[in-house]
């Protein structure tokens, strides 16, 4: 199809919007609008084919299921892959397999851009430090949010526009040049690629007794033809029963009393909410290698510090400095630490003897463990499992699925985030510690691993396509067919499972995900060109 300049501008704008964190929150925007599942629908709407866009986006999303961002590492950019892969597929009239093949290099372009962004934002730190030194607390929003967002949006828009404009023009000639066997091989290769997403996902959940459930989920779909949602429902219940919960697991929450004598002495609920929203929206708007979320944390504390240190410039400067140090953790747990710091600042103001070192130790002591638990819960548990259910619906053309996914994820993140802020503020650090000591997290993670493994087993069957095209034909009569005669008769989908386990094995040995992706692409292309798979 022909694509207009207006459509290119709209898609480029969407790419910019999906990469800022307002109004859905830093994690919220990244986990919803920036997913191929959601951006597929939007790009489809812009190009006049929402159903096809949703289907392609959902398929691309599977490849990025197992890619998480933890410990400051930046994986392949699924946002760029989803937007460009869907756009080129619709413009060029390609099938989902070929769309996947195009999405992979786009994801790498996107990850290079992200690395440059994080490096570039380091240059804002000296200016931020200068303003902090001068006590100009109201300028922190400018340097933490407005400047990086404006610069990034302009650069991102130009890059997306250039890729789309020249890509769309070149697409026809590329597709024509590749038509026939090469294009067919690319499509077959695309059928193999979802195994990469599933295999990488297994890296975090395929352990202990949860491992058996991969094969149970696989069998449920392969032999009994159960859908992904049915598998998720059944094995969700089984997982809770297998792990088993008792009353002690929730005791940490019960020990937190609501408002107490220590709370709301200087801050109102509105102050606290305002600080949390600044964290929720802008904790990573100036994410950089030097301080990570440090400036974002300081920016969130500013409304509170302004109130406490009114007329005390020296105190304000010292407080801003201690909250602008290196900080990096999970977004929801970060809100909890914000609550703890707010309560400590309040007690300090009320005369409690809380030295500078207490804030530094608390923040640097909590951020690591909290990131470990929080990243696992949100990026390994919630996001992929929720995604899988809606990807399954979207891949059948349900345009409402990405919308429902976004709304549900958002409700959870706003709800849990605000609740954790309150938990931190009301209890000081006590609840966090009790939770970490109680073993509740381990149980939740095991439930999720069991459920995740079962769902991954089902996904292998429904999304990875690997069929042998090997047969012996004599005088027009088929004597032997490797796929239908052997594999389908004994264990349907055995090849997709083997391929997925192969990806898992390589990832476990420490092979980088990009190398694995290229290895699978190479395998699919060669087998496809040779006509060994169909």
């Amino acid at each position: 199809m022909d694509v207009s300049i207006l459509q290119i501008c709209l898609i480029s704008f969407w790419y910019c919007f999906a990469n800022i964190s307002w109004p859905f929150g830093s994690m919220g925007q990244w986990a919803t609008l920036n997913r191929p599942l959601v951006s597929g629908l939007v790009v489809g709407l812009i190009l006049g084919d929402p159903v096809q866009g949703t289907i392609i986006g959902a398929t691309i999303n599977i490849m990025y299921l197992g890619i998480i961002s933890a410990g400051g590492s930046l994986p392949s950019d699924s946002g760029m892959a989803g937007i460009m892969g869907t756009a080129f597929a619709i413009i060029g009239g390609l099938d989902t397999g070929a769309a996947l093949a195009l999405a992979v290099p786009m994801g790498l372009v996107g990850s290079v851009l992200n690395v440059l962004t994080m490096a570039g934002q380091c240059f804002l730190i000296p200016l931020a430090d200068k303003w902090i030194d001068e006590g100009k607390s109201n300028r922190i929003m400018l340097i933490n949010m407005w400047i990086p967002y404006i610069v990034k949006t302009v650069i991102r828009f130009v890059i997306a526009f250039v890729i789309l404009y020249f890509g769309a023009n070149a697409l026809d000639s590329i597709v024509n040049a590749l038509s026939g066997p090469v294009m067919d091989a690319l499509s077959l290769m695309g059928g193999l690629l979802p195994a990469v997403g599933v295999g990488l996902m297994l890296l975090t959940i395929f352990k202990g007794r949860a491992r058996w459930f991969l094969f149970l989920g696989f069998a449920a779909t392969s032999y009994l033809n159960l859908g992904t949602i049915a598998v998720a429902f059944i094995f969700g219940i089984i997982a809770v029963l297998v792990v088993g919960f008792d009353a002690d697991d929730l005791s940490a929450f019960r020990s937190v009393k609501g408002e107490n004598a220590m709370t709301y002495r200087y801050f109102s609920k509105g102050d606290l909410t305002r600080a949390w929203l600044r964290w929720h929206w802008f904790c990573e708007s100036c994410y950089n290698y030097e301080r990570m979320q440090g400036l974002g944390f300081c920016n969130a504390m500013v409304p509170l510090l302004n109130k406490i240190y009114k007329g005390d410039k020296e105190g304000l400067v010292a407080a801003m400095k201690r909250h602008a140090m290196f900080f990096n953790t999970d977004h929801n747990f970060g809100g909890m630490i914000l609550g703890i710091c707010a309560s400590m600042e309040e007690q300090k103001k009320a005369g409690a003897d809380i030295p500078e070192e207490a804030f530094v130790s608390l923040k640097s002591g909590l951020m690591g463990p909290c990131a470990g638990i929080g990243d696992t819960l949100s990026q390994v548990v919630l996001l992929p499992i929720l995604s899988v259910i809606f990807i399954n619906l979207a891949s059948q053309g349900a345009v409402w699925a990405p919308v429902a996914f976004t709304i549900i994820f958002m409700a959870i993140f706003y709800g849990v985030g605000y609740w954790m802020l309150k938990l931190g503020y009301n209890s000081g650090g006590e609840t966090v510690l009790k939770l970490m000591e109680s073993g509740l997290f381990d149980k939740v993670i095991e439930v999720a691993s069991i459920l995740g493994c079962a769902v991954m087993g089902a996904l292998v069957c429904s999304f990875v396509t690997f069929n042998w095209n090997v047969s012996i034909v004599q005088e027009g009569v088929e004597l032997f067919n490797l796929q239908t005669g052997v594999f389908d008769a004994i264990l349907p989908n055995a090849m997709p499972l083997l391929l997925t386990m192969g990806v898992y094995g390589m990832a476990k040995k420490g092979v980088k995900s990009s190398y694995i992706t290229f290895a699978v692409m190479g395998l699919g292309f060669v087998l496809g060109v040779l006509g060994l798979i169909a």
């Binding site: 410990g71 380091c122 290196f326 470990g372 000591e437």
Partner: protein, 158 residues
């Protein structure tokens, strides 16, 4: 002397997935955190114990205690992973006669008074001097965040 399988500087100490990958690689069964404030503050100590994997024995010690601990005879099969926030305690160990062949540097975050000299490492002048002293005492110091990253010798950066 105890069997040290790795000495690592990482400000975040026991940081979820990053730490897990190193423990797997080194097959360590004991973590020794050398950090004065963490060893003497009950709250910070609890955080560390709550964060450590259940299968690992964790010790949190001051520099003096750690040096004495490391000098003890190694029990059969013990594999110790030494973890500090800054290079200072590592230098102290070397000076008290503990043999370290290499120190792996993970993350030291930016703060006022610290200069950034690598993607994830910032250090103050005093800390840079500690690195120089470590290198001068024959310890190889490398920057490496996760096991799959390439090792980068710190000599070029100092």
């Amino acid at each position: 002397m105890r069997n040290i399988v790795m000495a690592r500087v990482d400000e975040r100490l026991i940081h979820g997935q990053v730490m897990t990958s190193w423990l797997k690689l080194t097959d360590a069964n004991v973590i020794l955190v050398i950090d004065g404030p963490s060893a003497t503050n009950a709250f910070l100590k609890r955080i560390l114990f709550a964060a450590a994997p259940k299968s690992i024995t964790l010790h949190v010690m001051t520099e003096e205690d750690a040096a004495a601990f490391l000098k003890e005879d190694a029990p059969e099969g013990e594999r110790v992973f030494v973890l500090t926030k800054t290079p200072g305690p590592m230098l102290k160990m070397v000076k008290s006669g503990i043999e370290l062949s290499e120190v792996i540097l993970g993350n030291m975050g930016g703060a006022a008074g610290r200069k950034r000299f690598n993607k994830s490492i910032s250090a103050s002048d005093a800390e840079i001097q500690d690195f120089r002293d470590l290198v001068a005492s024959g310890v190889s110091v490398y920057c490496q965040m996760v096991p799959t990253d390439a090792k980068e010798n710190i000599k070029k950066l100092l």
